[in-house]
Symmetry: C2
Subunit: 169 residues, 2 copies
Amino acid sequence: MTTISMHAASVPAFARMLGNMLNWLEAAKAHAEAKKFSTDVYLTLRLAPDMLPFTKQIQIASDAAKGCVARLAGQENPSYPDNEASLDELAERIRKTRDFVLSIPAAAFDGSETREITIPRRSGDPLKFEGLAYLQHFALPNFYFHATTTYALLRHAGVPLGKSDYLGA
Amino acid sequence: MTTISMHAASVPAFARMLGNMLNWLEAAKAHAEAKKFSTDVYLTLRLAPDMLPFTKQIQIASDAAKGCVARLAGQENPSYPDNEASLDELAERIRKTRDFVLSIPAAAFDGSETREITIPRRSGDPLKFEGLAYLQHFALPNFYFHATTTYALLRHAGVPLGKSDYLGA
């Protein structure tokens, strides 16, 4: 049976979508300029009153990507202070996350499909997974959840984006 | 270098999330009963006027899952007529999709990471990918896009769901 590496199953997916997200923020900026509103308007948008706002969606997408890569590769997970207060600072957060994700050598992922991964939770016992289940049932769906919600908030705000912007070139 | 199979990188992700989606539809049904509105109300909800409605989000998530598995495994992609007209019929579509995804033997995915995958488009040349890039940059993000949008529409409609319902148990 031929197979793929855990690095190949994770890093390119995160890196590609983070790059797409940067393009959405560019489009959001151009839209705000054309319509003459402040890009700060985006930061607090929510899809429902009890869903997290735009800024948080991007911060959590970043955390999902860097946390997954760090945990699978057994590297330190860099801590970012979640203090972004503008669209430009959110773009910088995404760029920094992508740089980190791409910085980890593929060899560090060796054996990570069975590595025990522990995720602390605010309440209750930590979640425990084997590496592959963690990537597949937690990290990737969670990352895409927050990427898609970011995209949906921009679409809701009228930013001219389409599925090809979501998926990237 | 230890590795994972293309089957392991695809089928469990689709099957798990399709199961989660069935649970969301159950919650949507209970919410409509409690609030005394018809479940048909959900079917036409949209996040933006130029985004596709709820019914279509589920149909496309189904197409993304079954199409990916069929193409990677070199099996016939079953054609579903997109005629679901109720929440129950959408649940049946999801169930049927999950059954199909789980029905393909793991061995059929052998070598699919480099298999040439061709996706027809409504206009322009078909998209061509190698199997792994197709799974990673097209099929999975597209599937999660439509799953997340389905979830977001239900949240927008007040259905009591949270991230643990999105990710599943």
